[in-house]
Amino acid sequence: MSNDRYSRQSFLGPDAEARIAACTIGIAGLGGGGSHIVQQLSHIGFQRYVIYDGDEVEDSNLNRLVGATSADALAATPKLHLAKMMIYSLQPKARVAGFPCKWQEKPEPLRECQIVFGGVDSYQGRHELEVACRRYLMHYIDIGMDVHGTEKPVIGGQVILSSPGGPCMRCMGFLSDELLAREAALYGNAGPRPQVIWPNGVLASTAVGLAVDLVTNWTRQGRRHAYLVYDGNASTVKESATLRNLASGSCPHFPDGEVGDPVLLEL
């Protein structure tokens, strides 16, 4: 470590600071989950970002959007602006490529990343991000939470690490055609999903922990995939049994070698 700023995280390894600074991180969605992630990564020392969000701060965001104030809701501050402010306030020399849109509208910059965080609301959105990450060789870390029921609400969530060559979200049993079809049938009719700050904080912290381990390998586990299930009522995060029981690390949904821009093959 070159200075006192990172002395308390020196256990990450002698070259951790340089490794962290050299890594480019993508974040799709800077809302309840993404705002936590941006804040933590900036504290840790990440310097290079490709970030996306086209939304502005609203009153209904203030229960969970880290860094947002009532003044931001009044001024309709872009969430992208809040994220940039967070990064530059902690890392003045950071390189931030920020886009006030969905990542699908400007996908090329994302491809430079080594790690992409998904803070998106839909299963379809997760699927599309994972496809891009496989095709352009990026680790994908997905976070999401939901609240089920009203009489006895149950808070659930997940953190998934999907890496090229390893099991994907379908292998892990998190995504399926049926789920995507059901979501598509509800398109425009799903209503706002419940979101609160503390599960987002747990999930974002867990996701950031996976990313730091990917970059520094401080745990010496060499972990390339993970499916961690959050139980907000029991306040636990546990490894999914589905992933534990997967027979092998290979993925039939994203065969090795299906990378790069698609081309039309002559028949």
């Binding site: 050299a22 060559g165 821009d261």
Partner: protein
Amino acid sequence: MKIHIKLTGVLYGQIMADLVRPHPFAAERVGFVFGRMGSLNDGKLILLKRYASIPDAHYVDDQMVGARIGPSAMTWAMQEVYRSKGAREGIFHIHLHGHAGETAMSSTDAREIPAMIPGFQSVGRDAAHGIIIVSRNHGSGWVWLPASTQGVEAAQISVIGAPVGVFERRSAR
């Protein structure tokens, strides 16, 4: 034109494991790695996808250079490029310099390896081809985009594994 090269940690491990093996007479080993292009905002990605080791018998005993491969290895490489031309898969000559840190082409590398590129371009004209040199913990790459007669040095090689590796040209930092 910015060029980034990416490969998975599994492929990187496979390449390194092969290249560090001693050869019966050559001082170093050579391999071929195949990859496809992806678009960046202001450049190109090269996404490496598979590695081919060169059998011992395909080396030529030449003590003037670290390693020299013979016509059978070159013929095989050209055939592979031709076979994969529909998918626009290019070929990259790869070898290891056994030191740590940033590396570059030696004078012999610079004289001899780029001369292979026009041959690869002749059988795979829509693909990018090139040269990659890895050290013990770093790497550099030179990429000839389709129809280009000049190689462009890659600004970065990323190993998407655990741990993630980002090998950057000093001038690109």
